[in-house]
């Protein structure tokens, strides 16, 4: 009880999809996991609290920059108590542990498929062997008692885009910096240089490994031949700068989503990506870009849809959810188109305002009434400032709002992908059942035809297929559980992400209006002074 309750109280939610400053990718992982293997999670708060105290110095070290803490409110008491069961990052038991955790927190969401035995283990208290084996002291942040912070264990940033090389062979390198307290990494803070194809390579590896389980793999940003070519040939204009910044921000969000996914973080490929100095070139991405890969998945899913296979199940949750996802994706696409139109018009407005400002300045110089002349040049200055405002607002429209929508349109595609995986698993199961049936019929025929030699083989085949049927059924159940859990986690993250981005967007709009007011308030007396 305690476990999940505590977890609930402490809002050890799966980390939000950070798109904002409050990157707290691994809130769930936080915690004072203790060293000695004693089970401190048994529901006995005090020892944990004591441990919490001892971990505080970490924060004092100021290792984690302030912005890693989100504003989420978790009650102090709850916070000091918890460490989600078995949260370990030893990497050895990684998958299991993160599943444990994730499932436990899923309970909070109220949709958790707590059918598996694991959560109950977690709740039960006696430490499963897995937990005992983690021995490293986690010098990790514990939620502060009196501060509203979320836990995180790893923060990643993508910065400093640099052009390497010249001409058509040039490429952009990005600095990937990680700050972490997870013991599975060699250092606490480290950076590596990565290029775009490395990110795509990571996505492919993760997809290959995890999508079959029904995981939602965050998709990377798309390749762009035009954008990249401009950068390669050295076109130093604002559109290339915009392109690079857009890509950098998208890559950062991509990585943040990957590391905030409990299963994916444990993947050695992710660790290698973050840590290893030289990464082997991901060659296949040249032919198969991230977008191409996504397209393949989409095509496959379309093919599946066309076969109009419906899973016969009494629980309509999956069907309903898929429809919801599809409808939302459609609407987000529409919204994205309009927001892009707004961005373009604002950019146009920006340009036209600048031109107008110059024109008014010229008019001011030819005006022979001194006061009016001065007022006109002041007006020209105000319009110049408005141009800057429009520019900033267009950037905000784009980088905050439009990109948020674009990200989620891609993510919803990935969600659909995992529903498709479940569909495929179901198909496999159904097909195996029908094969088994055929084998049984064949056996019956053989019995009747009295061919003992073939009979043995037939019996062997039946056993084989019986095994497969059981296996596929279990696979299907497992993937269903994963999909449900993933979707619920996704929705929570989506809700948080949207809220924080929309708030950010409105705040930028608000700031621009405040500045606008200042400009015109300064101008008004000048206008009144005309005589």
């Amino acid at each position: 009880m305690s476990q999940t309750d505590m977890a609930a109280n402490s809002q050890r939610n799966p980390p939000p999809f950070p798109g904002s400053e409050d990157q707290d990718p691994l809130s769930e992982m936080a915690d004072g996991d203790s060293d000695e293997g004693e089970d401190i999670f048994v529901g006995n708060r005090n020892p944990v609290a004591a441990r919490t105290e001892s971990f505080q110095p970490n924060t004092a070290n100021g290792e984690e920059p302030a912005d890693l803490f989100s504003e989420e409110d978790s009650g102090p008491a709850a916070r000091s108590s918890n460490s989600p069961p078995g949260y370990k990052s030893s990497g050895v038991h990684s998958d299991d542990d993160s599943d444990l955790f994730a499932e436990a927190s899923m309970e909070l969401a109220g949709g958790g498929p707590s059918t598996a035995a694991k959560p109950s283990e977690a709740e039960a208290g006696p430490s499963p062997t897995t937990r005992k084996s983690t021995t490293q002291p986690m010098s990790m942040e514990q939620l502060e008692e009196d501060e509203v912070k979320d836990n995180f264990e790893l923060d990643v940033a993508v910065t400093n885009p640099e052009k390497i090389g010249d001409g058509m062979n040039a490429y952009m390198a990005y600095k990937v910096s990680t700050v972490t307290t997870l013991p599975m990494f060699r250092n606490r803070t480290f950076s590596v240089w990565r290029r775009f194809s490395d990110f795509l390579g990571l996505y492919e590896k993760l997809s290959l490994k995890h999508s079959l389980n029904g995981c939602i793999i965050p998709p990377p940003p798309e390749k762009s031949v035009v954008g990249m070519t401009k950068v390669k040939v050295g076109k130093e204009d604002s559109s290339s700068a915009d392109f690079v910044e857009r890509r950098r921000a998208a890559l950062e969000r991509y990585l943040q989503r990957v590391v905030s996914h409990p299963s994916l973080l444990q993947d050695p490929d992710v660790r290698e990506f973050l840590e290893r100095d030289e990464l082997p070139r991901a060659v296949s991405t040249q032919a198969l870009s991230g977008a191409g890969f996504l397209k393949m998945i989409n095509k496959a899913s379309d093919a599946v849809n066309k076969m109009t296979i419906k899973i016969n199940e009494s629980d309509t949750w999956f069907d309903d959810k898929l429809q919801e996802v599809e409808s939302e994706e459609l609407q987000l696409r529409k919204l994205h188109t309009v927001v892009e139109s707004l961005v373009n018009h604002r950019k146009e407005l920006c340009g036209n305002t600048a031109v107008f400002a110059k024109s008014i300045a010229m008019l001011g110089t030819s005006e022979d009434n001194t006061a009016l002349s001065r007022a006109l040049s002041q007006l020209a200055e105000v319009e110049d400032k408005m141009e800057a405002l429009h520019q900033a607002q267009a950037a905000s429209d784009f980088f905050i709002f439009a990109e948020l929508l674009a990200d989620y349109i891609r993510l919803l595609g990935a969600v659909r992908g995992c529903f498709e995986q479940r569909m495929k698993a179901w198909q496999r199961w159904q097909e195996s059942q029908s094969t088994l049936q055929k084998k049984r019929e064949a056996e019956a025929k053989l019995l009747w035809a009295n061919k003992p030699d073939k009979l043995q083989q037939a019996k062997e085949e039946i056993t084989e297929w019986e095994g497969k049927v059981t296996q596929y059924e279990r696979d299907f159940d497992r993937i269903s559980v994963t999909v449900r859990k993933e979707v619920l986690r996704f929705e929570k993250e989506k809700s948080k992400d949207f809220k924080s981005q929309l708030v950010k967007y409105l705040e930028s709009f608000l700031q621009s209006q405040q500045r606008l007011i200042k400009f015109w308030e300064a101008f008004l007396p000048e206008a009144k002074a005309i005589a």
């Binding site: 409110d73 919801e324 409808s327 939302e328 609407q331 987000l332 529409k334 919204l335 309009v338 927001v339 139109s341 707004l342 018009h345 604002r346 146009e348 407005l349 036209n352 305002t353 031109v355 107008f356 024109s359 008014i360 010229m362 008019l363 030819s366 005006e367 022979d368 009434n369 006061a371 009016l372 007022a375 006109l376 007006l379 929705e491 929570k492 989506k494 809700s495 949207f498 809220k499 929309l502 708030v503 409105l506 705040e507 709009f509 608000l510 209006q513 405040q514 606008l516 007011i517 015109w520 308030e521 101008f523 008004l524 206008a527 009144k528 005309i530 005589a531």
Partner: protein, 395 residues
Amino acid sequence: FLSYLLFGHGINVDLQTDATLQVDISDALSERDKVKFTVHTKSTLPNFKQNEFSVVRQHEEFIWLHDSFVENEEYAGYIIPPAPPRPDFDASREKLQKLGEGEGSMTKEEFTKMKQELEAEYLAIFKKTVAMHEVFLCRVAAHPVLRKDLNFHVFLEYNQDLSVRGKNKREKMEDFFKNVVKSADGVLVAGVKDVDDFFEHEKTFLLEYHNRVKDASAKSDRMIRSHKSAADDINRIASTLYTLGTQDSTDVCKYWTKLFPLFSKLSKIEARVAADEDLKLADLLKYYLRESQAAKDLLYRRGRALVDYENANKALDKARAKNKDVLQAETSQQVCCQKFEKISESAKQELIDFKTRRVAAFRKNLVELAELELKHAKGNLQLLQSCLGVLKGDT
């Protein structure tokens, strides 16, 4: 309600309304391809049959009146109030027509909403054209000399059609050539350096000023168009948010439903900002573009008269030298001299008045522009603050 537009419009601030002659457009009707203005006059002048009366006039009759002033030699020394631009509803009508054609492809709500917007646009253009025509009449009525013009009185009082047909093709060609000759001439005349400092300065000033106002007017139009487009986009965002709010059943839904009213109101404010900029800035610039042209025309006429005067002087000298037709040359020279001096005298005052009017109009409009921008920005601010409060408070 239409006459408030004149003063609300603020293009000309100091048009005295004195009781002896008050003119306004009390009504207007937009028909298929023309607009009918009801010109209403109140006067205590003895030459009118009644003290208060109205007639219906169309755009071509305004143009006829304007042209009659321009062609009248007596008025050569005055800035002739610029003619109102032709009412142009073509663009608006086209949009309404397209809307009608596309009716089947959109929902009833979308259709009604768009129809309302286009009708509002039509109405705005209509109000503007009425205001422009009214300003013209009021300028004439306020001018000490022009207000006494016979054609003007006929225009105001004669309650039948003035039968001023639009110019036919030949007349339009004549006009075209006249303009070509005038501009060529204008260049010649402009080249003549004026002895009088005041006029020399005015000439240089007006030439440059006119060009810059033209430029500023064009650029302000472009800027305001982009602004309107952005406002439209915000409106479309609001509509999509509405759909998302009603269709989406996930958690994010509550954000959409909170944002929809915000964006809806924001778009209205943005549209108002663009409209106010149009009224206070673009219209102001357009008007002074036309007035500065009228002022240039005045200078041209004076320049022409000066050249004629100088030529007459030369002819007189020649006649005296040859001692032939001296009297004729003397009379001719005197006529030219008088004409030139008369124009110069009134031109000076006209140009000074022009400056005063211009400065006052700019002041009024720039102050109002700033005040409106502030009002709207504060409105936006309030909306954003309250929405943010709601969004943030909600967990």
